[in-house]
């Protein structure tokens, strides 16, 4: 279970998230809806542990994100890939960091539709291909908590259709942000609206 308790994050003069309390049950898919600047990205980064709360807390199964890194998969606006490494090398590298078997990599590349591009350098990839490879990186260690920031952006229709099948898995908790309401309704069990850093 993901528990947010009185979560507030301030960047200098700007308060991105204000006193947000939420509980997300295990095994559910939750979509966060909101306009640009409503705090969706900050919220996901807080849950991922990339950003530290100004006050309040985030816990996953009772521990802060920093203590359960292996259980978290996060895909942000950037795919977190090295441009001068190939797709396979990028995933192998992350497999080493997460201490998972490299043999999973080819299958994963197939799953995201990049089976033929394993040897290509990431710098030659299009926006959508980078996004898909980023997704593969996120799924590599089979995280129990999947955090996806605007996962549909940059994806074409076919890839978007495949995405729900890739992320859904027994018992996995998914928290995704989007401004695309129909898509959100299609994939999510629960919708949360974020306005000015507050949930409604």
């Amino acid at each position: 279970m993901i528990v947010l308790d009185g979560l507030t994050k301030t960047f200098g003069r700007v308060r991105a998230i204000t006193n947000l309390s939420l509980q997300i049950a295990d095994g559910t898919t939750v979509a966060i809806l909101g306009a640009n600047g409503s705090g969706k990205s900050t919220l996901l980064k807080l849950v991922a542990g990339l950003v530290k709360p100004t006050s309040g807390s985030v816990t996953l199964e009772g521990s802060p994100p920093a203590e359960c890194k292996s259980a978290i998969g996060y895909l942000g606006h950037e795919p977190f890939l090295y441009r001068y490494l190939s797709a396979t090398e990028n995933l192998n590298f992350y497999a080493d960091l997460y201490r998972v078997d490299r043999t999973r990599v080819p299958k994963l590349l197939e799953d995201v539709g990049l089976g033929a591009k394993g040897a290509s350098l990431v710098r030659t990839f299009s926006r959508g291909e980078s996004q898909r490879l980023g997704l593969a990186r996120t799924l590599l260690h089979e995280p129990r908590y999947l955090l996806l920031d605007e996962p549909f952006s940059g994806l074409d229709e076919t890839s978007s259709e495949r995405l729900p099948g890739l992320i859904a898995q027994n018992g996995r908790t998914v928290l995704l942000s989007t401004h695309d309401r129909p898509r959100a309704e299609q994939v999510a069990d629960r919708l949360i609206h974020l306005t000015g850093g507050r949930a409604e």
């Binding site: 200098g12 700007v14 809806l33 306009a35 309401r181 609206h193 306005t195 000015g196």
Partner: protein
């Protein structure tokens, strides 16, 4: 109105400083070898002491900040670095003024003066970084790392500037402390000035901390104000 203890301290400091200056110019006997220029030592040596004290405080508070993440430690470290840079500059300038008549040059590669110059550069770098850090929290954390590194390197820099001209005898003809140690008046004034400068450091530090604290509070108020003032886009579906 509440009496501010800082104001009282400032009054004491002002009286002490005036008394010190009077003593330096009219009471202390003129040193036999160096003449009147030796009198600047009463400002130079306490400045150097305060500079090192200030950077030591930066070190301690930086470690405390990294351990606790409490802003007050960072305020003290940051304010102390500013005061330290000020007094390092004073040390270098008074050292150069003393050096001209005694060494015949404003700058001689005296190891201690060189070490002070290196520290000046390191902590100027610290202040330049703090001014350009971008994010406040990141700036405070990295500032703490610089503050720790800056002081840890002191003994190493000391040895390297000392060894660098190993073959040549040091050009220092007279050690300021050695010459000041003799007559009693000189010792009294020197110790007095050490006390006055330490008090000056504490006052400047307290004022610096107050400014940084207020800046943080203003930022917090602005955040609250902006949040309430901005008309948030409301999307209903």
């Amino acid at each position: 109105m509440k009496k501010d203890p800082l104001q009282l301290t400032q009054t004491v400091l002002a009286i002490g400083f005036m008394a010190g200056l009077v003593a330096i110019f009219f009471w202390v006997p003129t040193e036999a070898f160096q003449g009147v220029s030796q009198r600047i030592v009463y400002l130079h040596a306490p400045s150097a002491w305060v500079a090192y004290l200030a950077f030591g405080v930066v070190l301690v508070c930086s470690v405390a900040y990294l351990k606790t993440s409490e802003s007050r430690w960072d305020w003290v470290a940051h304010a102390s670095a500013k005061v330290g840079v000020l007094f390092t500059a004073t040390t270098l300038i008074t050292g150069a003024m003393w050096g001209k008549p005694i060494w015949g040059a404003f700058w001689a590669w005296d190891p201690r003066l060189t070490l002070t110059l290196v520290l000046f550069l390191i902590y100027l770098g610290y202040l330049a970084f703090r001014a350009n850090a971008g994010d406040e929290n990141r700036g405070a954390r990295i500032g703490a790392v610089i503050g720790i590194a800056g002081f840890m390197v002191v003994p190493l820099v000391h040895f390297s500037v000392d060894w660098w001209r190993g073959q040549h005898p040091s050009r220092t003809v007279v050690r300021p402390e050695a010459s000041a140690a003799l007559p009693q008046e000189m010792l009294i004034v020197l110790l007095g000035m050490f006390a006055v400068f330490t008090l000056l450091y504490l006052v400047l530090l307290a004022l610096g901390v107050r400014v940084l604290k207020l800046e943080d509070e203003v930022m917090e108020l602005e955040a609250t104000f902006l949040e309430n003032a901005v008309i948030t886009p409301h999307i209903t579906g």
